[in-house]
Symmetry: C2
Subunit: 201 residues, 2 copies
Protein backbone atom coordinates (compact mmCIF):
# COMPACT_ATOMS: atom_id res chain seq x y z
CA UNK A 1 0.00 0.00 0.00
CA UNK A 2 1.10 3.48 -0.87
CA UNK A 3 0.24 6.16 1.66
CA UNK A 4 -1.70 8.98 -0.02
CA UNK A 5 -2.80 6.72 -2.86
CA UNK A 6 -5.99 4.71 -3.09
CA UNK A 7 -5.68 0.95 -3.29
CA UNK A 8 -8.12 -1.00 -5.43
CA UNK A 9 -8.52 -4.68 -4.57
CA UNK A 10 -9.93 -6.35 -7.64
CA UNK A 11 -9.95 -9.09 -10.22
CA UNK A 12 -9.64 -8.10 -13.89
CA UNK A 13 -12.16 -10.77 -14.91
CA UNK A 14 -14.81 -8.90 -12.86
CA UNK A 15 -16.69 -6.13 -14.66
CA UNK A 16 -17.55 -4.65 -11.27
CA UNK A 17 -13.83 -4.24 -10.58
CA UNK A 18 -13.13 -2.87 -14.06
CA UNK A 19 -15.76 -0.15 -13.54
CA UNK A 20 -13.66 1.27 -10.71
CA UNK A 21 -10.54 1.21 -12.91
CA UNK A 22 -12.39 2.87 -15.79
CA UNK A 23 -13.38 5.75 -13.48
CA UNK A 24 -9.95 6.09 -11.87
CA UNK A 25 -8.27 6.05 -15.30
CA UNK A 26 -10.78 8.51 -16.77
CA UNK A 27 -10.37 10.96 -13.87
CA UNK A 28 -6.58 10.37 -13.66
CA UNK A 29 -6.81 9.28 -10.03
CA UNK A 30 -3.60 7.46 -9.09
CA UNK A 31 -4.12 4.04 -7.55
CA UNK A 32 -2.43 0.83 -6.58
CA UNK A 33 -4.10 -2.30 -7.88
CA UNK A 34 -3.95 -5.43 -5.77
CA UNK A 35 -5.16 -8.54 -7.51
CA UNK A 36 -7.60 -10.70 -5.56
CA UNK A 37 -8.78 -13.78 -7.41
CA UNK A 38 -12.47 -14.54 -7.38
CA UNK A 39 -11.88 -17.98 -8.89
CA UNK A 40 -9.55 -19.17 -6.13
CA UNK A 41 -11.84 -17.61 -3.47
CA UNK A 42 -9.19 -15.21 -2.20
CA UNK A 43 -12.15 -12.98 -1.29
CA UNK A 44 -12.89 -15.44 1.54
CA UNK A 45 -9.46 -15.17 3.17
CA UNK A 46 -9.50 -13.70 6.69
CA UNK A 47 -7.17 -10.86 5.61
CA UNK A 48 -9.54 -9.89 2.83
CA UNK A 49 -12.65 -10.26 5.00
CA UNK A 50 -11.05 -7.81 7.44
CA UNK A 51 -11.20 -5.20 4.64
CA UNK A 52 -14.61 -6.19 3.29
CA UNK A 53 -16.73 -8.42 5.57
CA UNK A 54 -19.08 -9.00 2.61
CA UNK A 55 -16.25 -10.93 0.90
CA UNK A 56 -16.67 -9.20 -2.44
CA UNK A 57 -14.45 -7.36 -4.86
CA UNK A 58 -14.00 -4.58 -5.67
CA UNK A 59 -13.15 -2.85 -2.46
CA UNK A 60 -10.95 0.21 -2.19
CA UNK A 61 -8.89 1.45 0.69
CA UNK A 62 -8.86 5.23 0.51
CA UNK A 63 -5.76 7.34 1.04
CA UNK A 64 -6.65 7.76 4.74
CA UNK A 65 -6.92 3.99 5.23
CA UNK A 66 -10.71 3.72 5.32
CA UNK A 67 -12.35 0.99 3.19
CA UNK A 68 -15.26 1.35 0.78
CA UNK A 69 -17.06 -1.50 -1.00
CA UNK A 70 -19.69 -1.91 -3.75
CA UNK A 71 -18.54 -0.96 -7.25
CA UNK A 72 -21.22 1.64 -7.84
CA UNK A 73 -20.73 3.27 -4.44
CA UNK A 74 -16.99 3.45 -5.12
CA UNK A 75 -17.57 5.03 -8.54
CA UNK A 76 -19.92 7.62 -7.02
CA UNK A 77 -17.34 8.49 -4.38
CA UNK A 78 -14.39 8.79 -6.78
CA UNK A 79 -16.44 10.84 -9.25
CA UNK A 80 -17.84 13.43 -6.84
CA UNK A 81 -17.64 16.86 -8.44
CA UNK A 82 -16.62 15.47 -11.85
CA UNK A 83 -18.58 15.52 -15.10
CA UNK A 84 -19.33 11.80 -14.67
CA UNK A 85 -22.08 12.82 -12.22
CA UNK A 86 -24.50 15.41 -13.62
CA UNK A 87 -24.86 18.63 -11.64
CA UNK A 88 -28.58 18.73 -12.41
CA UNK A 89 -30.55 16.98 -9.62
CA UNK A 90 -32.92 15.12 -11.95
CA UNK A 91 -30.18 13.93 -14.29
CA UNK A 92 -28.20 12.81 -11.26
CA UNK A 93 -31.25 10.90 -9.99
CA UNK A 94 -31.56 9.15 -13.36
CA UNK A 95 -27.89 8.15 -13.18
CA UNK A 96 -28.62 6.64 -9.75
CA UNK A 97 -31.68 4.90 -11.23
CA UNK A 98 -29.52 3.19 -13.88
CA UNK A 99 -26.85 2.25 -11.31
CA UNK A 100 -29.40 0.44 -9.16
CA UNK A 101 -31.07 -1.11 -12.22
CA UNK A 102 -27.69 -2.35 -13.41
CA UNK A 103 -26.98 -4.14 -10.15
CA UNK A 104 -30.48 -5.61 -9.81
CA UNK A 105 -31.62 -6.44 -13.34
CA UNK A 106 -28.50 -6.56 -15.52
CA UNK A 107 -25.49 -7.79 -13.55
CA UNK A 108 -27.54 -10.54 -11.90
CA UNK A 109 -28.30 -12.02 -15.33
CA UNK A 110 -25.43 -11.16 -17.69
CA UNK A 111 -22.51 -11.24 -15.26
CA UNK A 112 -23.81 -14.32 -13.47
CA UNK A 113 -24.40 -16.20 -16.73
CA UNK A 114 -20.96 -15.17 -18.05
CA UNK A 115 -19.29 -16.42 -14.87
CA UNK A 116 -21.03 -19.79 -15.01
CA UNK A 117 -20.48 -20.25 -18.75
CA UNK A 118 -16.99 -18.85 -19.27
CA UNK A 119 -15.28 -19.34 -15.92
CA UNK A 120 -17.05 -22.28 -14.32
CA UNK A 121 -17.39 -23.87 -17.83
CA UNK A 122 -20.91 -25.07 -17.10
CA UNK A 123 -22.72 -26.55 -20.09
CA UNK A 124 -25.87 -24.67 -21.18
CA UNK A 125 -28.04 -27.48 -19.78
CA UNK A 126 -26.75 -26.78 -16.26
CA UNK A 127 -27.31 -23.02 -16.36
CA UNK A 128 -30.60 -21.70 -14.95
CA UNK A 129 -32.60 -20.90 -18.12
CA UNK A 130 -34.21 -17.85 -16.48
CA UNK A 131 -30.84 -16.07 -16.66
CA UNK A 132 -30.99 -16.04 -20.47
CA UNK A 133 -34.48 -14.56 -20.46
CA UNK A 134 -33.60 -11.98 -17.83
CA UNK A 135 -30.47 -10.94 -19.75
CA UNK A 136 -32.45 -10.62 -22.99
CA UNK A 137 -35.01 -8.43 -21.23
CA UNK A 138 -32.24 -6.20 -19.87
CA UNK A 139 -30.59 -5.84 -23.29
CA UNK A 140 -33.96 -5.15 -24.96
CA UNK A 141 -34.72 -2.42 -22.44
CA UNK A 142 -31.30 -0.85 -23.03
CA UNK A 143 -31.79 -1.08 -26.79
CA UNK A 144 -35.13 0.76 -26.63
CA UNK A 145 -33.61 3.45 -24.44
CA UNK A 146 -30.70 3.94 -26.84
CA UNK A 147 -32.79 4.18 -30.04
CA UNK A 148 -32.54 7.97 -29.98
CA UNK A 149 -29.74 8.53 -27.50
CA UNK A 150 -25.94 8.53 -27.69
CA UNK A 151 -25.51 7.91 -23.94
CA UNK A 152 -27.76 6.73 -21.12
CA UNK A 153 -28.24 10.13 -19.49
CA UNK A 154 -27.84 13.72 -20.65
CA UNK A 155 -26.24 12.90 -24.04
CA UNK A 156 -22.79 12.61 -22.54
CA UNK A 157 -20.62 10.14 -20.67
CA UNK A 158 -21.79 9.55 -17.08
CA UNK A 159 -21.44 6.79 -14.52
CA UNK A 160 -24.57 5.19 -16.01
CA UNK A 161 -22.61 4.36 -19.18
CA UNK A 162 -19.58 3.15 -17.24
CA UNK A 163 -21.65 0.91 -14.94
CA UNK A 164 -23.55 -0.58 -17.85
CA UNK A 165 -20.69 -1.10 -20.27
CA UNK A 166 -18.65 -3.19 -17.84
CA UNK A 167 -20.55 -6.42 -18.46
CA UNK A 168 -22.42 -5.45 -21.64
CA UNK A 169 -19.15 -5.43 -23.62
CA UNK A 170 -18.59 -9.00 -22.41
CA UNK A 171 -22.14 -10.12 -23.25
CA UNK A 172 -20.75 -12.58 -25.84
CA UNK A 173 -19.01 -14.48 -23.03
CA UNK A 174 -22.44 -14.79 -21.40
CA UNK A 175 -23.93 -16.23 -24.59
CA UNK A 176 -25.64 -13.07 -25.92
CA UNK A 177 -25.03 -11.76 -29.44
CA UNK A 178 -25.09 -7.97 -29.44
CA UNK A 179 -26.03 -7.99 -33.14
CA UNK A 180 -29.55 -8.73 -31.83
CA UNK A 181 -29.56 -5.33 -30.08
CA UNK A 182 -27.99 -2.96 -32.63
CA UNK A 183 -28.41 0.25 -30.62
CA UNK A 184 -26.66 -1.38 -27.68
CA UNK A 185 -23.91 -2.61 -29.99
CA UNK A 186 -23.27 0.88 -31.38
CA UNK A 187 -23.34 2.38 -27.90
CA UNK A 188 -20.76 -0.19 -26.68
CA UNK A 189 -18.38 0.78 -29.49
CA UNK A 190 -18.95 4.49 -28.77
CA UNK A 191 -18.24 4.18 -25.04
CA UNK A 192 -15.24 1.89 -25.59
CA UNK A 193 -13.77 4.61 -27.81
CA UNK A 194 -14.50 7.32 -25.24
CA UNK A 195 -12.89 5.28 -22.47
CA UNK A 196 -9.92 4.32 -24.66
CA UNK A 197 -10.69 0.61 -24.37
CA UNK A 198 -9.74 -1.93 -26.97
CA UNK A 199 -12.85 -2.79 -28.99
CA UNK A 200 -14.20 -6.26 -28.31
CA UNK A 201 -17.35 -6.30 -30.43
CA UNK B 1 -52.51 13.23 -10.21
CA UNK B 2 -52.13 16.48 -8.30
CA UNK B 3 -50.05 19.15 -10.00
CA UNK B 4 -47.27 20.30 -7.72
CA UNK B 5 -47.37 17.07 -5.74
CA UNK B 6 -45.33 13.94 -6.33
CA UNK B 7 -47.19 10.77 -7.19
CA UNK B 8 -45.91 7.45 -5.85
CA UNK B 9 -47.01 4.35 -7.74
CA UNK B 10 -46.62 1.45 -5.38
CA UNK B 11 -47.92 -1.64 -3.69
CA UNK B 12 -48.01 -1.71 0.12
CA UNK B 13 -46.89 -5.37 0.17
CA UNK B 14 -43.58 -4.25 -1.41
CA UNK B 15 -40.85 -3.15 0.97
CA UNK B 16 -39.24 -1.27 -1.90
CA UNK B 17 -42.41 0.83 -2.20
CA UNK B 18 -42.70 1.32 1.55
CA UNK B 19 -39.13 2.72 1.66
CA UNK B 20 -40.27 5.62 -0.50
CA UNK B 21 -43.27 6.25 1.78
CA UNK B 22 -41.09 6.09 4.90
CA UNK B 23 -38.84 8.81 3.44
CA UNK B 24 -41.71 11.00 2.23
CA UNK B 25 -43.47 10.69 5.60
CA UNK B 26 -40.27 11.36 7.55
CA UNK B 27 -39.46 14.46 5.49
CA UNK B 28 -43.12 15.57 5.38
CA UNK B 29 -43.12 15.58 1.57
CA UNK B 30 -46.74 15.60 0.37
CA UNK B 31 -47.58 12.88 -2.11
CA UNK B 32 -50.40 11.08 -3.86
CA UNK B 33 -50.26 7.30 -3.61
CA UNK B 34 -51.56 5.26 -6.51
CA UNK B 35 -51.86 1.58 -5.81
CA UNK B 36 -50.42 -0.73 -8.45
CA UNK B 37 -50.74 -4.42 -7.64
CA UNK B 38 -47.70 -6.60 -8.12
CA UNK B 39 -49.76 -9.77 -7.61
CA UNK B 40 -52.19 -9.03 -10.44
CA UNK B 41 -49.32 -7.89 -12.69
CA UNK B 42 -50.63 -4.33 -13.05
CA UNK B 43 -46.97 -3.38 -13.48
CA UNK B 44 -47.14 -5.02 -16.93
CA UNK B 45 -50.05 -2.89 -18.20
CA UNK B 46 -49.17 -0.62 -21.15
CA UNK B 47 -50.17 2.50 -19.15
CA UNK B 48 -47.80 1.54 -16.37
CA UNK B 49 -44.98 0.57 -18.75
CA UNK B 50 -45.27 4.05 -20.29
CA UNK B 51 -44.23 5.43 -16.88
CA UNK B 52 -41.63 2.78 -16.08
CA UNK B 53 -40.47 0.62 -19.02
CA UNK B 54 -38.78 -1.70 -16.51
CA UNK B 55 -42.25 -2.69 -15.25
CA UNK B 56 -41.35 -2.32 -11.58
CA UNK B 57 -42.77 -0.48 -8.60
CA UNK B 58 -42.07 1.87 -7.01
CA UNK B 59 -41.92 4.63 -9.54
CA UNK B 60 -42.62 8.26 -8.77
CA UNK B 61 -43.80 11.01 -11.05
CA UNK B 62 -42.29 14.24 -9.79
CA UNK B 63 -44.20 17.50 -9.50
CA UNK B 64 -42.97 18.54 -12.97
CA UNK B 65 -44.26 15.32 -14.53
CA UNK B 66 -40.92 13.53 -14.94
CA UNK B 67 -40.70 9.89 -13.79
CA UNK B 68 -38.06 8.30 -11.56
CA UNK B 69 -37.73 4.59 -10.80
CA UNK B 70 -35.69 2.36 -8.46
CA UNK B 71 -36.55 2.65 -4.77
CA UNK B 72 -33.07 3.62 -3.61
CA UNK B 73 -32.63 6.21 -6.40
CA UNK B 74 -36.00 7.73 -5.45
CA UNK B 75 -35.03 7.86 -1.75
CA UNK B 76 -31.73 9.56 -2.62
CA UNK B 77 -33.54 12.15 -4.73
CA UNK B 78 -36.25 12.94 -2.16
CA UNK B 79 -33.68 13.15 0.66
CA UNK B 80 -31.19 15.49 -0.99
CA UNK B 81 -30.06 18.10 1.52
CA UNK B 82 -31.76 16.36 4.45
CA UNK B 83 -30.18 14.67 7.45
CA UNK B 84 -31.01 11.26 5.94
CA UNK B 85 -27.94 11.69 3.70
CA UNK B 86 -24.75 12.53 5.64
CA UNK B 87 -22.96 15.74 4.64
CA UNK B 88 -19.59 14.04 5.16
CA UNK B 89 -18.35 12.52 1.89
CA UNK B 90 -17.12 9.25 3.41
CA UNK B 91 -20.25 8.71 5.50
CA UNK B 92 -22.33 9.42 2.39
CA UNK B 93 -20.27 6.86 0.45
CA UNK B 94 -20.92 4.27 3.15
CA UNK B 95 -24.66 4.98 2.93
CA UNK B 96 -24.40 4.34 -0.83
CA UNK B 97 -22.45 1.15 -0.11
CA UNK B 98 -25.28 -0.18 2.07
CA UNK B 99 -27.93 0.85 -0.47
CA UNK B 100 -26.22 -1.18 -3.21
CA UNK B 101 -25.55 -4.07 -0.84
CA UNK B 102 -29.22 -4.08 0.17
CA UNK B 103 -30.40 -4.41 -3.43
CA UNK B 104 -27.79 -7.02 -4.39
CA UNK B 105 -27.34 -9.22 -1.32
CA UNK B 106 -30.36 -8.67 0.94
CA UNK B 107 -33.48 -7.92 -1.12
CA UNK B 108 -32.66 -10.67 -3.60
CA UNK B 109 -32.79 -13.24 -0.79
CA UNK B 110 -35.18 -11.98 1.88
CA UNK B 111 -37.73 -10.14 -0.28
CA UNK B 112 -37.71 -12.85 -2.95
CA UNK B 113 -38.15 -15.63 -0.39
CA UNK B 114 -40.93 -13.70 1.36
CA UNK B 115 -42.78 -13.18 -1.91
CA UNK B 116 -42.58 -16.84 -2.85
CA UNK B 117 -43.50 -18.07 0.63
CA UNK B 118 -46.15 -15.58 1.75
CA UNK B 119 -47.68 -14.32 -1.49
CA UNK B 120 -47.19 -17.15 -3.98
CA UNK B 121 -47.79 -19.65 -1.10
CA UNK B 122 -45.04 -21.94 -2.36
CA UNK B 123 -44.20 -24.83 -0.03
CA UNK B 124 -40.63 -24.83 1.35
CA UNK B 125 -39.74 -27.75 -0.93
CA UNK B 126 -40.39 -25.61 -4.00
CA UNK B 127 -38.33 -22.62 -2.88
CA UNK B 128 -34.71 -22.45 -4.07
CA UNK B 129 -32.76 -23.50 -0.92
CA UNK B 130 -29.94 -21.06 -1.74
CA UNK B 131 -32.27 -18.18 -0.84
CA UNK B 132 -32.36 -19.29 2.80
CA UNK B 133 -28.57 -19.46 3.00
CA UNK B 134 -28.13 -16.12 1.27
CA UNK B 135 -30.65 -14.47 3.59
CA UNK B 136 -28.94 -15.93 6.66
CA UNK B 137 -25.60 -14.60 5.43
CA UNK B 138 -27.09 -11.14 4.95
CA UNK B 139 -28.65 -11.13 8.44
CA UNK B 140 -25.42 -12.40 10.00
CA UNK B 141 -23.43 -9.62 8.33
CA UNK B 142 -25.92 -7.02 9.56
CA UNK B 143 -25.81 -8.49 13.06
CA UNK B 144 -22.00 -8.27 13.21
CA UNK B 145 -22.12 -4.67 11.99
CA UNK B 146 -24.71 -3.73 14.61
CA UNK B 147 -22.93 -5.30 17.60
CA UNK B 148 -21.57 -1.91 18.66
CA UNK B 149 -23.73 0.46 16.62
CA UNK B 150 -27.20 1.98 17.04
CA UNK B 151 -27.59 2.69 13.31
CA UNK B 152 -25.87 1.53 10.12
CA UNK B 153 -23.91 4.74 9.51
CA UNK B 154 -22.85 7.68 11.67
CA UNK B 155 -24.88 6.67 14.77
CA UNK B 156 -28.04 8.29 13.48
CA UNK B 157 -30.90 7.57 11.12
CA UNK B 158 -29.87 7.60 7.44
CA UNK B 159 -31.16 6.08 4.22
CA UNK B 160 -29.08 2.99 4.99
CA UNK B 161 -31.39 2.17 7.92
CA UNK B 162 -34.53 2.94 5.91
CA UNK B 163 -33.44 0.80 2.94
CA UNK B 164 -32.51 -2.10 5.19
CA UNK B 165 -35.49 -2.06 7.54
CA UNK B 166 -38.05 -2.33 4.74
CA UNK B 167 -37.69 -6.09 4.28
CA UNK B 168 -35.81 -6.93 7.50
CA UNK B 169 -38.89 -6.11 9.60
CA UNK B 170 -40.79 -8.62 7.46
CA UNK B 171 -38.10 -11.30 7.72
CA UNK B 172 -40.54 -13.59 9.58
CA UNK B 173 -42.74 -13.71 6.46
CA UNK B 174 -39.65 -14.94 4.60
CA UNK B 175 -39.08 -17.71 7.14
CA UNK B 176 -36.31 -16.07 9.20
CA UNK B 177 -36.55 -15.68 12.97
CA UNK B 178 -34.92 -12.42 14.06
CA UNK B 179 -34.31 -13.89 17.51
CA UNK B 180 -31.35 -15.62 15.84
CA UNK B 181 -29.81 -12.19 15.13
CA UNK B 182 -30.43 -10.21 18.35
CA UNK B 183 -28.58 -7.04 17.32
CA UNK B 184 -30.66 -6.89 14.14
CA UNK B 185 -33.80 -7.48 16.18
CA UNK B 186 -33.02 -4.58 18.55
CA UNK B 187 -32.13 -2.32 15.64
CA UNK B 188 -35.45 -3.12 13.90
CA UNK B 189 -37.39 -2.11 17.02
CA UNK B 190 -35.29 1.07 17.37
CA UNK B 191 -35.83 2.16 13.74
CA UNK B 192 -39.53 1.26 13.82
CA UNK B 193 -39.88 3.60 16.81
CA UNK B 194 -37.93 6.36 15.07
CA UNK B 195 -40.06 6.07 11.94
CA UNK B 196 -43.27 5.85 13.95
CA UNK B 197 -44.11 2.41 12.57
CA UNK B 198 -46.19 -0.14 14.40
CA UNK B 199 -43.85 -2.75 15.88
CA UNK B 200 -44.02 -6.13 14.17
CA UNK B 201 -41.34 -8.08 15.99
Amino acid sequence: MNPGCITIYGDPISGNCMKVRFVADRLKIPYCWIEVSVLTAETRNPEFLAINPAGQVPVVVLADGRPLAQSNAIMLHLSEGSSLIPADAYERAIVHQWLFWEQYSHETAIAVRRFQKTYLKRPESEIDPSLKLKGERALALMNRHLVDRSHFVADRLTLADIALIAYTRWADEAGFDLNDWPCVHKWVMRIETELGLQART
